[in-house]
Amino acid sequence: MNSNPIKIGLEIHMQLDTGKLFCRCGNEAEKESISTFVRKLSLVSGEMGTTDRAAYYEKERDREFHYNVSDNSCLVEIDEDPPHEINQDALLTAVRVARAFGSNVFDHLCVMRKIVVDGSNTSGFQRTSLVATGGSVATSSGTVRVSTICLEEDSARRISEDGRKAVFGLDRLGIPLLEIATEPDIRDADHAVETARMISFIVASAGHFKRSAEAIRQDVNISLGFGRVEIKGVSKLSLIGDGIRSEIGRQTSLAQAVSVLNSRNPGKAYDIKLIECSEIFRNTKSKVILGEASSGKIAFCSLLKGMDGLLKKGEFRLGREIADLVKLFGVKGLLHSDELPGYGIEKDELEKIRALLKPGEGDAFMIVMTQPDLIHVLSKEIQNRLSKIADLDFSETRSVSEDGATHFLRPMPGGERMYPETDIPLIGLVPVFQNAEAMGPLEDMRSLVDRLARQYGISRQDSEVLVNEFKSGSFLELNSIIGDPRLTARVLLQTIPELERTSGAIAYKDLVSTFRLAKEKGLKRESVEAMLAMCSHGASFDEVKKSPIIYPLSEEELKQILSRLDPGMSQSQIIARIRKETGRPINAQVLSRLLDRLKDQEKKSGDGSA
């Protein structure tokens, strides 16, 4: 059915740790909520006089946005002060990266406003500017062309969402993001993963990237000939591959379903009329319906013409396309005829629904639990989506979950959602070019691996992993604090991955604080690991700092413990025992010395008693 070649393009977004782009706040927050405020966003005409579709779509969900003001934000993030001058470090990094791709850098930057009315930008837009076009990256499967390199502001961090109220944190808002977009030259999932890695490395090697949970996000554009689908915000490399694979599967079976559907409904009439049917379920035993009804929702049903067996049977999953959409309007209870009877709905209830909707041959139906005031918009939105799918236009924005499955997010934004950031005059790049020139080209992957191994005396293998995982920047910074490359590498490559797997993420700022404290107090590996373990378990660094368990046992403490132990134990048994008992770091040297002394004493007392 699908004779078109698969086309895949990537957009890699990487945070630069230069401090924020249009104000002088830092990247990291110490306090995440020193005050709060509330905003609404209204939609207005764009530069060309028409309103953007995706923006309108968001607005339709009429919401209140609550913002937590962090201590790394100022009036600029609050949208109460126009942007200040652009961050020169970020600009320089962008230009150096663009040159590394062989891109054409413009002489001037026009900062634009990209309309985003989901609340993730207090202004209702994201500031972004096109730094360069063209260029390419060489991969094992051939050259992938770079289409654009943009420098933009990161959005506010979404904290929670509850109906019409969404809560955001301002700590992330305004951090510079370098966006590298490729042409759709990527062939398959594995190639996409490789390309993403190559691009990320080049950005990282400009020296202003630190790996952290939110520091990198990738968008994947994929087209099978049914319009472009954008998978947004993929934060891990591995998910790029999984997402692409599952999306190809989804589109392929969706196209097959459409072909069946269109053969049944030649007129393509996908009228959705949601009819109230709560009376039918007055005595229902269905937990789905009862649960939703208890929060004030009411049952509606609609005919789904020609969709019998396409909603959820075999490969077909048209039902999920509807469910993903209505979920955005808070509708959790969607049931359709392919899975009924089921979910506690009885046969006689189904009969009554059928009597109400009168489905013909090949027709399906669905039942939704929702607020009555949403019915109008829901009907319209479902109808639009089904018509679009039936036209084999699958273009839209999707997200990907941890299992690799993709989910509908919103329609694809149009091209008119941008207009100039009028608060910032044209930014001339010529002075930046001179600085970039002076700094020379970026270091390539191989020479960086060589240099780390050589200069810092770590294994070549460690060096490769550091570089591959974009941890070389962190390695250099942390090592400059503590001056112990092996410890640094170990922490980055073993301690942290292990802790993050078993307990929780560790903020980069806590990592820096840990290294600083270790340096200041002369603490060894055991203490560093104890501190990081505490951080990973959610302790604030203030708590960590004050905790006795991060400090090694003193000689006195050790002596006391040893005096209680069976003298026959081996040193490693002793260590294990003390660790278990106290949970505190042990200074091996001190311990050895004590044990030696004990032995001496034993000997002497042995002598004495003889």
Partner: protein, 403 residues
Amino acid sequence: MKEKASFGDKVRLSYNGAEIEGTFISHESGIITVKLKNGYNVALSDDRAEYLSVTRVKRLSEDRNGEREISGGVILLATGGTIASRVDYATGAVKPHYDISSLLGEADIREKLGTKVIDNILSENVTPEKWILMAEHTKKELDKGNHVIILHGTDTMTYSASALSFMFEKQSRSIIFTGSQRSPDRPSSDAFENIRSAITFSSLNVGEVSICMHDSRSDLSERLIRATRSRKMHTSRRDAIRDIDGGGLAGIRNGKVSILGEFRPAADETVLSAKLDNRVALVYFYPGMESGILSRIAEKKKALVVMGTGLGHVSEAIISEIRGIARDGVHVVMTSQCLQGNVNLNIYSTGRKLKDAGVISAGDILPEVAFTKAMYVLANHGENFGETMMKSLRGEISARLLN
């Protein structure tokens, strides 16, 4: 290569060897701005750019002012300002450009509303002559039974609103100024909430000229402020216009109105005295101000409003100059740089000397308001200038200072 394309045309250019395709925006100061298909603008140095093709695109007329007459309702009179701002491609900055209807697109309130564009300026360009025009337009609408909402830039809103406040000796309906600190071309603009609340406040029938703006940085509450007790206290915050000591008349929060202070109710009739004498200057005293400078400012003036230090002081060195200016028939009104609190020329020897030199003080009147009041008083009560300045005509002087 001048004017090869005009705004909106589709163009293809060669630039630095690459090909650029998009919509022509502008060509100014050696820079060609083109909007690419992906929405980004790029700025090209024209000495390295060459047009490959230009396809003319006919633009729809932008005449969407949507003026609409009304009587017995609420009329929005547009004068310009941020609330009327849109992108100015000539300078790349924001310029007034009116389309009132776009401001109301959101609100389900069109039915009771009329709209009219009476001017189109940035508010720093307002003049006493413009205040008279505004007042006359307003009078016409009041006479039609309309409440009037004046859309105005926030920079000089206090000046304009207080000038109208003095000229309207009686008013039969509300006169409310509103504006915005964020232009309505952005989703986060405060314009929408401000206009909506101004419409709500207009039903209170306050018989004073007032200002409606955000009361906090959140989009949750607006405040109605007596024009003569208002002042812009921040360059960029949404709640920049504050009531200074007792100017708060009413508040709105989530659509609920509460009364904050006493106000004059609307009168049965409207009495407008649309006369101002613009021969007034506002002068800021600073330490070391040399004598002579005040006299130069006072040339051809009828009144000088001085912003003195503290309770209303200037240096010993220029008291005698002020005495001379006053003797020559120029009224000198003393206000304070502090903005809050009463001027009082009885406390310190400097004050007593100033009083003796003929300087007029009027309690806690704000300097900007003293400035517009002086224009009104000169034109309407010139023979009793000092006495009238010292009397509170429109709530501009607080009998009791509570803060």
